[in-house]
Amino acid sequence: MMFAHGFGCDQTMWETVARNFEGEFRVVLFDYLGHGRSDASAYSAERYASLDAYAEDVVAIGRALDLEAAVFVGHSVSAMIGALASLKAPDMFSELVMVGPSPRYIDDEGYRGGFSREQIDELLEFLAENHLGWSAAMAPAIMGNADRPELGSRLENSFCRTDPDIARDFARATFLSDNRSDLGGISTRTLVLQCSDDIIAPLAVGEYIHAALPHSEFRLLQATGHCPNLSAPEEVTAAIREFV
């Protein structure tokens, strides 16, 4: 069972839920390039301009671990990254769990994603002003020294560290993506986990995905906000367990 973090965080956000499955599954956690403790030196802005590159990385991890008929659990943008990965390697995942997914964030004709282009620019502005525990001077030391956690504690916010330039690129790749046309081709069994009151992925978007996916189940969680894996890990665990 592979857990993929969404925009804004790293694998830490899945720790509680993932621990619940360690008994029954081989659990795989990872950080996307530029996030958490990944090796940011392998990053290239050109390559990671679209979600396809992230999906290729998921497939590469799956191949390296010989994953076959595994469960992919993706939060937020990772739900779509998992869908793209399942198209690239159809045998790798037998189940997809999408937590707070959206195939397109920006409104379009006949489609309400919940966002406008200007609002995305506001988010990019916020990211430029908030490096959230990132310090360019400290970064190489922190990123390369998993065995020296004291280096990290000097910064105020120690989780979900992301290189600000990469966070900006990832925000663009995420919020400007449009994967609606990919949904129809996904033959994998899918569970759509929808939060109540999620401004990032509103109810209508979750229902849209459920309708567009050929083999999907839809479940509305009582959890509110965009990160039920953190705010309601037990409810998320139960929903996944029932599905797989």
Binding site: Q119, N130, F159, T224, C227, S231
Partner: protein
């Protein structure tokens, strides 16, 4: 006797503190707000309670709260120093710096989140100015880098394209000398042309080396274990034939093989010798020594002549630097730069000492690849 200190009114401290207070439920609903933040937002405190935190954040802040701040709060319990814009009843932005912490029950469950806001108009404006200045500087250095790259590519292409016509001229000169009947004057001219051709070819080779060095991030060398003595003897013989009037005292004690690029080491030795010929005192011999000793290979070239001033020494290994002592007509000023690049590519160094008695360049490198360490002086 002094008066007793005034006692603090805690309720008033909360309501009129010089910062804004908000308490928010796990679901994002404002539970309590103080008077200060209500004033900033132009809304009564009673009106704020029960509304969503989203309603007083700009859109960027809302997404950031959901994607970044809420997860961080759950994981580490607090988030500090967040630049956040609040939005007033009139839709105006209030720039603030915020800290937030989760208030948790004894069992660890989330009761509510407390947020403290500091109005930070000047501070945020200052930070934005810094951000803009940095973006501008990055843009400028980027375009500068591109221009420099273009210049280097131009040099590489020019050097490369000059080779073909030079080769054609060399072929013609060769044929003229062998197959044609020439007058004595014709032969003399032909010999001068050969000399000029060699100089032009050497200049082009240096240019190509420069382009390779700066474009490729260092010289590429192909190393094998080499017996260097014959190579170095040949270099000395070549320099003697170019400058027959100068004395070169060679001492070669290279008993062990050296792990290096034979052609490049020959080029380094040749460049150092040529430098000594050009700048050394003509009436004193040049000393050329090479030896292996222990783990090291050293090669040094010394000449008599004027001491090199410290200010000149600093720039000697830079490309296109030609000693201000006198104009040289022998090259572009790339010889020492290329020698230094070759040294670097072999994980070696060139040291320079200059006194009234002699000027000496000493090249030192690890003799075997087992002891070679990656150079940290290599350009990025």
């Amino acid at each position: 006797m002094s008066d007793s200190p005034p006692s603090e009114d805690l309720e008033d401290l909360y309501e009129t503190a010089p910062c804004g207070y908000l308490s928010v439920s796990p679901g994002g609903v404002i539970v309590k707000a103080n008077g200060t933040i209500a004033d900033w937002l132009g809304r009564p405190t009673a009106d704020l309670a029960g509304t969503s935190l989203h309603d007083i954040l700009g859109f960027g802040g809302r997404i950031a709260y959901e994607t970044h701040l809420a997860p961080l709060l759950r994981m580490q319990g607090h988030v500090h120093e967040i630049a956040l814009d609040l939005v007033t009843a009139n839709g105006e932005k209030v720039p603030t710096i915020a800290n937030a912490a989760e208030k948790r029950e004894k069992d660890g469950s989330h009761r509510f989140t407390r947020l403290t806001f500091f109005r930070a108009v000047d501070r945020r404006m200052y930070e934005r100015t810094l951000l803009n200045a940095r973006a501008k500087a990055e843009g400028e250095s980027d375009s500068y880098r591109k221009a420099a790259l273009l210049r280097e590519q131009f040099i590489a292409v020019l050097g490369h394209d000059l080779r073909n016509p030079l080769a054609a001229i060399a072929g013609g000169v060769h044929l003229l000398g062998r197959k044609e009947e020439l007058s004595e004057r014709g032969f003399a001219l032909l010999e001068e042309m050969k000399g000029s051709l060699e100089r032009a070819s050497a200049l082009v080779d240096d240019l190509l080396d420069l382009a390779r060095g700066s474009l490729g991030g260092g010289f590429a060398v192909e190393c094998t274990n080499v017996a260097l003595t014959p190579t170095l003897e040949q270099v000395v013989a070549e320099i003697r034939s170019i400058a027959p009037e100068r004395a070169i005292e060679a001492s070669l004690r290279v008993e062990e093989p050296v792990y290096c690029d034979r052609g490049r080491i020959a080029q380094l030795a040749s460049n150092l010798l040529a430098n000594a010929i050009t700048h050394g005192a003509a009436d004193h011999p040049i000393s050329f020594e090479a030896a292996t000793a222990g783990d090291l290979f050293t090669l040094s070239v010394a000449n008599a002549g004027a001491r090199i001033p410290e200010t000149v020494m600093e720039h000697l290994f830079q490309p296109f630097f030609r000693g201000a002592v006198r104009p040289s007509r022998n090259g572009l000023g790339l010889g020492l730069f290329i020698a230094a690049e070759i040294a670097k590519a072999h994980h070696g160094t060139i040291d320079l000492t200059s006194t009234e008695l002699e000027t000496r360049f000493t090249f030192t490198m690890p003799r075997s690849d087992l002891i070679a360490q990656p150079s940290n002086e290599r350009p990025q």
